[in-house]
Point group: C2
Chain length 371, copies 2
């Protein structure tokens, strides 16, 4: 394994996102194809890459509808030409002025879970939007509990009363799948999510809501499952790059990892088997993947150019504000010099992208995520 970038990328001075563009494009094509075969709408989550440039790769794969997690991201992607956007976050009613402006330009999908929010929107919205009911199928973060049939039906009725609110269906995020580490457990959660949503949909149909769509979409389930019976759309995001957390869960293989961070080496400590990189919590966040009691904030990339290889003993073991501590096997450490770049696949790609924003590809493209 070698530190291979410093010779070719002399204009990388500080932590920078490095993309294997062909891998990301293959991930997109693969998921688009999977959605197509399953007969479901593919509405990928763009919070992972936050980039109009990467968005273009989705357009080329036939994608026309997207998911984001904030009003700010709708503004950014609407400017980039996207016009069918879901904000997969319970409406932040303080941003209603911006929501109104956006709803006048694009087809906007909002997510609600309370009568309070529906009442507010009914009064404050000046343009029509689609409204999904956030349903909690077991993650217990947001949403109405799937067993609270009366709560869901009442909310759907309330939505239907108002001209500007068009009831779209039930939207769920099985975020608890990120805590699982076996294929069977992830598929169990996926099947449970499906059956709970279908059960609730039947109840809504009995209450004469016949146009209830089902939307779901965590990356582990969408990567590993093949059964999407009754589902109308999927919303995975992380799969475009994957990361060490997804690799640890088993959602992807090493060959599917598309994103790394190039970090300058600032110091070497052979006596403790570490090097210090310029690359810390303000670049990687403090998220980690944990296996066998070892926390890994990232994996060191070896190999040649975009042919990546990994070594379980080469990883980002600690981060403070700007400092990263990288563990390396002795024979690798010996080859590294101060001033070299180390490439590191982040534990959580979405957060590293949000923090760094400057991308480049092995083909020499440079672009920036929203700012």
């Amino acid at each position: 394994m070698i530190s291979f970038l410093d010779k070719t990328w002399t204009d990388v001075y500080k932590p920078t996102l490095i993309l294997r563009a062909e891998v990301a494009k293959a991930n997109i094509a693969w998921m688009a194809d999977k959605a197509n075969k399953a007969g479901v709408r593919f509405r990928p989550h763009f919070k992972t890459h936050q980039s109009a440039h990467v968005g273009q790769w989705y357009k080329e794969a036939g994608v026309t509808a997207i998911t984001v997690s904030s009003v700010t991201m709708v503004q950014y992607f609407a400017r980039a030409g996207w016009n069918d956007i879901t904000i997969a976050f319970p409406v932040n009613i303080r941003e209603v002025a911006a929501i109104n402006e956006l709803a006048s330009k694009v087809s906007l999908n909002l997510v609600v879970e309370s009568l309070e929010t529906v009442s507010f929107l009914a009064k404050a919205l000046t343009h029509a939007v689609k409204v999904w009911i956030k349903t909690d199928t077991g993650y217990k973060r947001t949403g109405i509990d799937w067993q609270n049939i009366r709560g869901v039906v009442d909310l759907a009725k309330s939505i239907k009363q108002h001209d500007t609110l068009h009831f779209a269906g039930l939207l769920a995020h099985a975020g608890h799948s990120y805590k699982e580490y076996t294929l069977d457990r992830i598929l169990d959660i996926h099947q449970q999510t499906l059956s709970r949503l279908q059960e609730l949909k039947s109840e809504l149909e009995q209450a004469h809501f016949n146009d209830c769509e089902l939307s779901l979409g965590d990356t582990p389930s969408c990567s590993l499952a093949d059964d999407f019976t009754g589902v109308n759309e999927i919303r995975p995001g992380n799969f475009v790059f994957y990361d060490v957390q997804q690799l640890t869960i088993g959602s992807c293989h090493e060959k599917d990892l598309a994103l790394a961070v190039a970090c300058p080496v600032a110091a070497k400590h052979p006596e403790r088997g570490t090097v210090i990189i310029y690359g810390g919590a303000v670049h990687f966040s403090k998220d980690f993947a944990e296996a066998n009691g070892t926390k890994k904030y990232g994996l060191v990339v070896g190999g040649d150019n975009d042919k990546w290889a990994f070594d379980k003993d080469a990883y980002l073991s600690a981060v403070s504000q700007e400092h990263g501590t990288v563990k390396l096997p002795a024979d690798v450490l010996e080859q590294v010099n101060v001033g070299d770049l180390l490439l590191i696949v982040p534990a959580h790609a979405c957060l590293a992208v949000d923090l760094i924003r400057d991308y480049r590809t092995f083909q020499g493209e440079k672009f920036r995520a929203w700012s």
Copy 2:
């Protein structure tokens, strides 16, 4: 305890830094006075606030020299008129062009720990800089081990050989003090740091380095210690705002907390005693304070205006990308409505500032950290 901001701050739409400016100014005055009484130079770390506006408060307290942790921050604060700046991070030699440009304008202090870096600088620098030897007094992140006398003396000799490198002294960061939770243990570490640096300084004096200054500066030690014998400068940063981590360690009291994040409430879940805020890992990072096995990503602020009060059962208990889950006692939760703002003191102020950047004060000032 009440949610008190939504009535007055109708133009806060998303997570925003809220400062008790008077508290921050009092923290600055207190630390400046402490340094003054101890006869040490006060070179505060500006990575915590990253703001020219807050920097002005330091100028008004008589501060003329500062510390930062990246070349980018030097560029920002040099533009704001600061001209004596230390980068407390082992030199990132890939940024030597920017370093040269800065060294032509301001008095620049660099930190080194290897002959490799000194050789590089000797060849590449076009303007004189001051050079500190990073000394590891026990934290084991960066620096030459304090017991490696030969290594330190050799490095000092190497520095002295070059006209553009002016040997300044020994610089240490006792970052292991952040892991302690009692006054005695923090003071033990502080005394150990002092004696180790003094011992090494004596060795340098025997090797005829008579102008060796000592620089140290973690917030816990600088907050709690009074003995700075032999020290020439202190570099604390976090103390300007403090945060939940420092409160948990015991470096400060609740009255010293100057920074909170205002976050819109997006959903309520009385059945599990939580509300969901717009405020997640992209605002707070994933850093936390831990006490008695409970992880707290932030503390909810109660009280009236800038008279803050806290409740141990009201805290930010989980963060994902944009979602924050806040635990609240039943009687508090009852008073909170969707669309209200909750004020939350972050676990780690430096990272929340780096992520959010938009400040406002209770006096109505609005400003932005570097961008």
